[in-house]
């Protein structure tokens, strides 16, 4: 029964990782850059939700669309100001800029909301379902989180495969020059990608802070790095891969923490990542890119 309990807990945190990983993977797949500031957009989303909830007393779920809109704008602005001018330069320059943006957002948050943790309201305020005479507790919030993750993945997959804009994103991901020759505005497509990734980050931010019931300027850093790991694990650039990677990472982390050692859970997570990458360098669901000459 313990195992089942931890399994459910693992899926809960895994679903949050998955939503963050979806943002990482979309931006990487299309803009070919690692947006290390992604975790901090999560944090901004959470603070936005907190600010509106505490100012107006609205329920947390109503603050999600507001946080999404603000983070979408933030994502487009970050991309336009910080990353777009570096398009075509070395990827190292972009990476360092992303780290800079990350620190900028964290410090701005400290300035506005202070460095201390602030209490965060729960998204779903309901008693957990007790199963098997109370031995198994399933919180409604965990179920909502899982459902949101699944809906987001299905919606993204449909968008990318069925719509003209989604197909244009895949075209840009595969061959930027050829995409331009089709009449696709590459800069605009990349902006849209950042907009979507940042909106997802806002959702993840609210879900994450609702789970830990607090928000702080660095709340997004570690989950951001873990979700990045999850995206690589599942195959970076792949939408189902990010989902699978996030879920697996949540499970591995929770189960090793419960049954092996809490202190070693990160080490074990990364050990498994290394083994997966040795066997499948492109990740679990990643495409092995073959250059056809």
């Amino acid at each position: 029964m313990d195992f089942l309990q931890y399994f459910i807990d693992g899926l809960y945190i895994g679903a949050i990782y998955a939503i963050i990983a979806l943002g990482y993977t979309m931006v990487y797949g299309i803009a070919k850059m690692l947006n290390f500031a992604h975790g901090d957009v999560i944090m901004v989303g959470a603070y936005m939700s907190y600010t509106f909830v505490s100012a107006s007393g609205m329920p947390v779920y109503l603050s999600i669309p507001i946080a999404m809109v603000i983070c979408t704008v933030l994502g487009i602005v970050i991309e336009g100001l910080a990353y777009k001018p570096l398009r075509g330069t070395s990827s190292l320059a972009v990476l360092i800029t992303a780290i800079g943006v990350s620190y900028f957002l964290q410090n701005a948050a400290q300035l506005i909301w202070g460095p201390a943790e602030i209490g965060f309201n729960r998204l779903v305020n309901a008693k957990p379902f007790l199963l098997f005479d109370g031995k198994l507790r399933v919180s409604p919030e965990a179920m909502v989180t899982l459902a949101i993750a699944v809906v987001i993945m299905v919606a993204l997959t449909t968008f990318v495969n069925r719509t003209q804009t989604g197909k244009a994103m895949r075209a840009v991901a595969e061959d930027r020059d050829a995409a331009q020759l089709m009449g696709i505005n590459v800069n605009r497509t990349i902006s849209i990608t950042f907009a979507i990734g940042s909106a997802l980050a806002a959702v993840a931010g609210v879900l994450l802070c609702s789970k830990v019931q607090s928000v702080s300027p660095t709340v997004g850093s570690m989950p951001g790095i873990r979700a990045f790991t999850a995206a690589v694990f599942g195959g970076i650039g792949s939408i189902p891969g990010a989902m699978l990677g996030g879920m697996l990472l949540g499970l591995i982390e929770t189960l090793t923490g419960a049954f092996i050692s809490t202190q070693f859970s990160d080490a074990i997570v990364f050990l498994i990542l290394i083994i997966v990458l040795l066997v499948k360098p492109a990740g679990l669901l990643g495409k092995q890119v073959q250059e056809k000459v």
Binding site: K167, D177, A178, Q180, L181, G183, I184, N185
Partner: protein, 232 residues
Amino acid sequence: MLKVEDMHVFYGAIHAIKGVSFHVDEGEIVALIGANGAGKSTILKTVSGLMHPRSGSISFMGQSIAHTDAYKLVRHGLAHVPEGRRIFLQMTVQDNLAMGAFTQKTVSKADLDMVFDLFPRLKERRTQIAGTLSGGEQQMLAMSRALMSHPKLMMLDEPSMGLAPILVDQIFSIIKDLHKAGTTILLVEQNASKALQVADRAYVLETGKITLEGTGDELAHSDAVRKAYLGG
């Protein structure tokens, strides 16, 4: 229709195109021939807006386009089938065609029928992933994809590269068909004999400069061209 004057293009410090001037009139097939590295592909990339010239002018349908981005030129009726085809290998044949029609409001049935008429093989393979097509089929897809944008001028970069002789003949006969149907064509080729057979006029390019020009016939019979490009 297309007029390029004294165009200079650089890759960083390398002076790749050194003052090239040429023109393509409406209804013509014009060929650019020359050896590997002469700058043929660079010229096409600069005309289509993937690169920009450091100096000189390019005008298309009376508009100056030297510094216009590639994606905008597609709407003006300029299509570029790049070297190496550059189809979207991970997408299906249909999705590749849909990308070709990106500037159109919808993927029209009439356009699909038109390209499937030209290339019946693609119709059989419409749901297949493009990366699984043969080289010849990929070339057909690259040309079809460009046709979906209703080009007035179609620029083809090495359409015969890496294809079996029978496919080369087929591709060139389709180029002639497209031309008859009203598309103006700028053709870049290493296969000079084939290119000169179909071209109304041609230019010979050597290390970034045009060294000869004339009608397809004239060049095919010129001693210099025969020695250098037609094997005596």
